[in-house]
């Protein structure tokens, strides 16, 4: 496990050194500050969309289905009561 970690760290260090030594500008870089902002906005947006779908669509539909099912079962019970009498 430690050997694997050392190899990974060496690979990462070599790759980082290679990137730093390349004499070209970076045009697609996200630093820690902007990265943190990006993570925050992404999680907030996805969470808002998902919870809005669940809270404003799924739960009301579930409640409606339960009410319809409840009405049907009480209707059946009433019908059975009428036929029995």
């Amino acid at each position: 496990m430690t050997k694997i970690l050392i190899r990974l760290a060496t690979l990462f260090a070599l790759a980082a050194a290679g990137v730093v030594l390349v004499p070209s500008d970076a045009h697609a870089y996200i630093g820690p500050g902007v990265g943190l902002t990006a993570v925050g906005t992404l999680v907030a947006f996805l969470g808002a969309v998902l919870f809005a779908l669940i809270g404003f669509i799924w739960y009301p539909i579930k409640r409606l289905l339960r009410a319809i099912r409840g009405r049907n079962s009480s209707g059946d019970a009433e019908a059975e009561g009428i036929s029995a009498s």
Partner: protein, 130 residues
Amino acid sequence: MIAAAAAAVVSIGIFIVALSISGVASATGGVLATTQATVAAMRDASLDDAARERAVQRSAVKLIRDFASIVLRGGLSLVASLVPIWLLDAAGLVPAGAVFEFLSRPDVLAASTILMVVGYLAWTRVWRAN
């Protein structure tokens, strides 16, 4: 070259200060906490569906607000860091292109990233603890 580097350092410094003042990190932490609490509420067997529905709806509205808040805070921090570059360019002291070119160099990016991460860790673990 030295003027561009100095302008870049000022810009990075203002960005770090603006980020810490605007509280982007705490807002992001709040978003993660809200998401975890909502998932926990949805899986809580002691709550009925009506309570779960109310909790999820509240979280959805809160996350929309948090999304707008983080975008605004991050955008303002970015604009604040660009102000000195624009001012120096407008004054004819340092061309903005030279500063952006300097800021795009891989060694500058690596150094500023490492400094920012180390500075943040030092701030949160050492200074704040004392």
